[in-house]
Symmetry: C2
Subunit: 234 residues, 2 copies
Amino acid sequence: MTGKLYGVGTGPGDPELVTRRAWSLIESANVIAYPAPDSGESFARSIVADAIQPDAVEIPMVVPMRPGRAPAQSIYDEGADAIAEQLDAGNDVVVLCEGDPLFYGSFMYLLVRLRDRFEAEIVPGVTSLSACASAQTHPLVARSDILTVLPGTLDDVALEQAITRSQAVAIMKVGRHMTRLRSLIDRLGLLGKALYTSHASLPHERACSLDDAPADAPYFSMILIYKGDDPWIS
Amino acid sequence: MTGKLYGVGTGPGDPELVTRRAWSLIESANVIAYPAPDSGESFARSIVADAIQPDAVEIPMVVPMRPGRAPAQSIYDEGADAIAEQLDAGNDVVVLCEGDPLFYGSFMYLLVRLRDRFEAEIVPGVTSLSACASAQTHPLVARSDILTVLPGTLDDVALEQAITRSQAVAIMKVGRHMTRLRSLIDRLGLLGKALYTSHASLPHERACSLDDAPADAPYFSMILIYKGDDPWIS
């Protein structure tokens, strides 16, 4: 009998924001896999480190971080092979995914390689989107509003169109696009309604207006725009 | 000293998809508040019922469910007053919120009434958006895609524009708009790419193609559209 593949969301960063199901799956996992940078610690693993069994088999998938470029698919080929070997041996494999596995996550690259041969279950997690709104104590989206989620890597034309057409906007992966994004939002007259959050839910979380945000924003930062004058009062 | 207001996400329905922090806050809460229907059980309360202390003070806010109409704001005035009374007496109050408190939630109506007088903290939760994608074992959004979240209550023109302009679309609150939404999506040639989910993460969850979905969709149902041919492979 083959093992089962679990794609498990670890949430935005605070170990307390992991779901009960994710935590207990990780606690009982004999094999875990996770993305890891070239050097340093895996963020997903660090969130749930206290739940991992000391003798668990660990499969780190080293994904080089190069801004603006998707990692080589060979990394996921190799990761999927290592995971498949465990599944074929009858071991369940828990793949740790920052945030939610299916929301801009790399888990889908593993899923597409393994879904036809193995049973798969996804455990959803709290997204950075929800964590940033919580950090700001400010609604993300309300009533019959349209919410648009955009990567900051898009060009100005695409961003402007989407921002113009929505009541609520979240721009993810701000990072090195900070200066350009702030100029664009200022030009659209929305600087006073834009909020900046980095490392939401972590001890070094920063939540402020976009106007007060640092120019050297980290990759894990987000801009939220809600257009109305406190439109959530009615 | 006044108490602290907690807006706590209870996630999509499965008690196991509550975060560790939400669960422990509820377990230690002396006062909880939650929205409740005219008759029957509060959904948010039912999710975390096993965590609630038997002697906790409970403040149900009865919100009549009338499709297409926002509930009277007097309900939130009264709810906020009852909560403020507890906070003024020095008791913390945990407000239970289905899904995530700031994602199309009614918690914001309480927050806006109480935020100037009391300390408030939000505990984000897993949204129905993530739960539906998980139920389908299908990516919600990937790479540099634009994700648009739309209430099914919008008119056809607004829906068509938003669907046309995004790679990934989630239509919430399908309910009685099912037939109209399915016709629209069919007309746009996207029926083969549309997924239907109701009651995600609950025992009576239904996850199928939109083509196979029932005409009498419940309020808590969602349509997900991802336009590419398995675009998450690259």
